[in-house]
C-alpha cells in the first residue's frame, strides 16, 4: 500500500546466523566453544547417535516391532544444537521429531523406543524428570512452555525451550503463546525446525511470510534465522537466547532452516508430493558431513576416532533396542492406574468388566 508517502513509525529486520558452509568451511567468525574440541566432538557424537538411533527405529518399525515413527534425518543439528545450549535445570518441550534433543537431555533410548512402540512407560523419563513428553498435537506445546516458564521464573532459574516445525507456526496456539511470552517477559525460547515441509505442504504454502523468524515481530519478541544444518550456529543462537532469557531478558524465536530428508513418518510416502531431485540436492547441506569436515579441518579429527565413535553409537543403540524388546509387557489393568479422578467404584467395575471378558 504505497499511495501517499506515509511516515515510517517502526522498523524491523531479521538476521541470519551461519558459521559453517556445506563443506564444513568457516564462513564467519566462530563462537568460542567451537575452539573446544570436546564440545564440538560432543555435538558431532550427538548427531551421529541420533542418526544411528533413527535408522534402528525405522528398521524396528519396518519389521513390525515399533509403531509409526518420525525420523529426524537431516535435522540432527537442530535437536543437538538446542539441547547443548540448555542447562539441566531448563525444561524441554519437544515436538515429535526431536529425539536427538531428548537423548542429549538424558532420556534413555529405550524410553524413546517404548513411547513410539506404544507404551506409556516411555514418557516416564528416568532422566530429565521435568521435561515434557513428546507433543503429538501440532503446536500444543507452546502454551505449555509459557506456563513452564512461569513456574521457572518463580523459582529464579531455568528456561523453557519449546521446539516444533514450520507447520506448527500456523497454529493459533503458537501465536497465543508467543504473544504471552512477549508481554509477560517469560524465559521461553521457541525453536522452529523449518524443514520445508509439513507432511505434503511445502513451506511456501504454509505461510506467505518470507521467514518464519519474522513471526516474532508480531509479538515484539527478538528473533533470528539460523542455518539449521550448522550445529554450531544452532547451539550459539539458542544459547544466546537461553542465557538472555535466564538473565531476565525474556523470550525469543529461533528459526532453524533445515530440510526433511526423510518421509514425514514411516506411514508417509513423500514421493507422492515432492521431487526426488529436491531431496538429492538437499543432501548437499546435511549437517553431519559438514561437521565432520569441520572437525577434520579444525580439530584433526581422525578416521580412527570416527570409526570408534560410530561403533560406540551403534553399540549403544543396539543395547537400547535389546533392552526395549526385552521390556516385560504392562499389565492390562495398568490402563486404570494414574487416573485418580475416576471414582474408585467405577474403576473397580471397569476392572471387573475387563476380567469378566478376558480371564
Amino acid at each position: 500500500m504505497a499511495d501517499p508517502p506515509l511516515e515510517v513509525i517502526a522498523n524491523f529486520e531479521v538476521r541470519r546466523r551461519q558459521y559453517l558452509g556445506p563443506e564444513g568451511e568457516t564462513v564467519a567468525e566462530l563462537p568460542e566453544f567451537a575452539q573446544d574440541r570436546e564440545a564440538v566432538v560432543a555435538l558431532y557424537r550427538g548427531m551421529i547417535e541420533t542418526r544411528v538411533f533413527d535408522e534402528k527405529a525405522i528398521a524396528l518399525q519396518r519389521t513390525g516391532r515399533l509403531g509409526t515413527y518420525a525420523s529426524s534425518l537431516g535435522q540432527e543439528a537442530v535437536s543437538i544444537g538446542l539441547a547443548a545450549a540448555m542447562r539441566a535445570e531448563d525444561v524441554l518441550l519437544p515436538s515429535f521429531r526431536e529425539h536427538g534433543a531428548q537423548l542429549w537431555r538424558g532420556v534413555a533410548m529405550e524410553e524413546v523406543l517404548l513411547f513410539w512402540g506404544g507404551d506409556e512407560r516411555g514418557s516416564d523419563f528416568a532422566g530429565p524428570r521435568r521435561d515434557f513428553p513428546v507433543c503429538i498435537p501440532v503446536g500444543d506445546q507452546y502454551p505449555h512452555a509459557a506456563g513452564v516458564a512461569l513456574a521457572l521464573q518463580r523459582e529464579g532459574a531455568g528456561v523453557a525451550v519449546a521446539v516444533g516445525g514450520d507447520g506448527s507456526t500456523s497454529k493459533g496456539d503458537f501465536y497465543e503463546a508467543l504473544n504471552i511470552v512477549g508481554v509477560w517477559n517469560l524465559p521461553t525460547v521457541f525453536v522452529i525446525n523449518n524443514n520445508q515441509w509439513a507432511i505434503s505442504m511445502p513451506r511456501s504454502e504454509q505461510t506467505a511470510a518470507e521467514t518464519i523468524a519474522q513471526k516474532a515481530i508480531a509479538v515484539g519478541l527478538p528473533c533470528e534465522q539460523v542455518d539449521g544444518c550448522d550445529a554450531l550456529a544452532v547451539r550459539a543462537a539458542v544459547a544466546a537466547a537461553v542465557e538472555r532469557a535466564r538473565r531476565g531478558g525474556g523470550g525469543a524465536l529461533i528459526e532453524c532452516v533445515t530440510y526433511r530428508l526423510c518421509d514425514h513418518t514411516t506411514a508417509d510416502d513423500a514421493s507422492r508430493y515432492r521431487e526426488d531431485a529436491e531431496v538429492s540436492a538437499a543432501w548437499a547441506n546435511e549437517p553431519i558431513k559438514r561437521m565432520r569436515a569441520f572437525l577434520a579441518a579444525a580439530h584433526d579429527w581422525t578416521k580412527k576416532e570416527e570409526t570408534a565413535l560410530r561403533e560406540a553409537a551403534r553399540a549403544r543403540v543396539e543395547a537400547a533396542a535389546t533392552a526395549y524388546l526385552g521390556t516385560p509387557p504392562m499389565d492390562a489393568v495398568d490402563i486404570f492406574q494414574h487416573l485418580r479422578c475416576a471414582p474408585a467404584s467405577d474403576t473397580l467395575r471397569d476392572m471387573t468388566d475387563h476380567e469378566a471378558a478376558n480371564g
Partner: protein
C-alpha cells in the same frame, strides 16, 4: 461467621487458597485490577500482587495451555474463562493435555489446575453469554467437573478443587452469584469432590439436578408437596466423577426419577444420570425416567430465554406425569 453470596464465597475461597498455598496462581481476562467481570477475584491483586494474579491477553486456548504448563511444574493455577460461551477454544488443551498428562507420563507429571467459568442463562446476558457446556467436559477422561449450587457449597467445593491433584473444570451458575446469601464459615474446610448433596427428602419422586436449577427444583418440590407428592432433591454437584450411589439409593426408594438441567437435552449430562438409573435401578422404577431440560435448540437471546430455561412449572408438570404411574 458471615452471610455471603456465592460470588463472595468464591472470592473468599480463592483468597484463602492463595494464603494457605503460595503456589496458587490466578489467571484470566480482567481478573486483576478489575477483579473479574463478576468480581470473583476482587481485591486479590491488591493483596497478592500481579505476579500471583495475572491478567491475560484475550487468549482462551493459551490460558488453558499455560495453566497446564504451570501446573505440571509445581504451581496450582486457578484460571478463569470469562464466560462459559468462550471456553470452547480451551477444550483442546483440556482433553489432549490437562486430562492426559498424569496417565501418559505414568504419574511423572500431573496437572493440579482449576478452570473456573460462569455458566448458564437467566441473567439476560448478550448472545453467547448463557451457555451450559458441562456435558462436554464430563465426558473427558482425567478431569473432574464440579458445579456448586449455594455459597457454602461453592466455598467448600472450590477449595477442594484447588487442592485436588488433578484438573477440575469448575462451572459457576452465574444466575446464583448474587441470588441469595447464606452463612459461610471461612474455616478452610473443603467438601468432598464425589458426593452429591441431598437437598430434600421424599419418598415419592427423586429429582436429580445441579447448579442454578436447584432453585426451580426446590420450588417445584414445594409445589408438588402441596399436592401430596414428596420429592427427594439431589444436587449432583460433582458431575465427573458423580455420586451414582446417591442417585441409585434414592431412586430405589422412590421408584421415580426426574432429571432437570438447563443444557440442551440430547447427550446432555441428564442422559448419563438416566443411563445410570436404567443400568442400576431399573427394577425399582415405577415410572419411566424423565428429563426436563433445555431444548435441542440454540440458546435464545434474552427475549425468549425464559422459554428455553426449565421452569418450576415444567418440572412440576413432569413430576405430575410421573406420579400418574403407580
Amino acid at each position: 461467621m458471615a452471610e455471603l453470596t456465592m460470588i463472595e464465597a468464591i472470592r473468599t475461597a480463592l483468597g484463602r487458597a492463595m494464603e494457605e498455598d503460595p503456589s496458587v496462581l490466578i489467571l484470566g481476562e480482567d481478573v486483576g485490577i478489575d477483579g473479574g467481570v463478576f468480581r470473583a477475584t476482587d481485591g486479590l491483586v491488591q493483596r497478592h500482587g500481579s505476579e500471583r494474579v495475572k491478567d491475560t491477553p484475550v487468549s482462551e486456548s493459551a490460558i488453558a495451555g499455560v495453566a497446564v504448563g504451570a501446573a505440571a511444574q509445581g504451581l496450582r493455577p486457578v484460571a478463569e474463562i470469562q464466560f462459559a460461551g468462550f471456553i470452547y477454544p480451551a477444550i483442546d488443551q483440556i482433553v489432549n493435555h490437562a486430562g492426559r498428562l498424569r496417565a501418559r507420563t505414568r504419574g511423572r507429571l500431573s496437572c493440579p489446575m482449576v478452570l473456573r467459568a460462569p455458566y448458564g442463562g437467566g441473567i439476560h446476558a448478550p448472545e453467547h453469554h448463557s451457555e451450559s457446556p458441562e456435558a462436554m467436559f464430563a465426558h473427558i477422561p482425567g478431569i473432574r467437573v464440579v458445579i456448586p449450587s449455594s455459597p457454602a457449597r461453592a466455598y467448600g467445593l472450590l477449595l477442594a478443587a484447588i487442592r485436588d491433584p488433578d484438573p477440575v473444570v469448575f462451572l459457576e451458575p452465574k444466575r446464583l452469584y448474587r441470588a441469595f446469601a447464606e452463612e459461610v464459615v471461612d474455616d478452610g474446610e473443603a467438601l468432598p469432590l464425589d458426593a452429591a448433596f441431598s437437598l430434600r427428602d421424599g419418598d415419592d419422586l427423586t429429582i436429580v439436578t445441579w447448579g442454578a436449577l436447584t432453585k426451580e427444583t426446590l420450588e417445584a418440590a414445594e409445589l408438588l408437596s402441596a399436592e401430596g407428592v414428596e420429592t427427594a432433591v439431589i444436587d449432583l454437584a460433582t458431575l465427573k466423577p458423580y455420586d451414582a450411589a446417591a442417585v441409585i439409593a434414592s431412586v430405589e426408594r422412590t421408584g421415580r426419577c426426574l432429571i432437570a438441567h438447563e443444557a440442551a437435552r440430547t447427550a446432555g449430562f441428564g442422559a448419563e444420570v438416566a443411563a445410570c438409573v436404567a443400568e442400576n435401578a431399573v427394577t425399582s422404577l415405577i415410572a419411566p425416567v424423565r428429563r426436563v431440560s433445555g431444548y435441542d435448540t440454540v440458546m435464545p437471546l434474552p427475549r425468549l430465554e425464559a422459554v428455553y430455561m426449565p421452569s418450576s412449572e415444567r418440572i412440576v408438570a413432569a413430576g405430575r406425569e410421573l406420579m400418574q404411574w403407580r
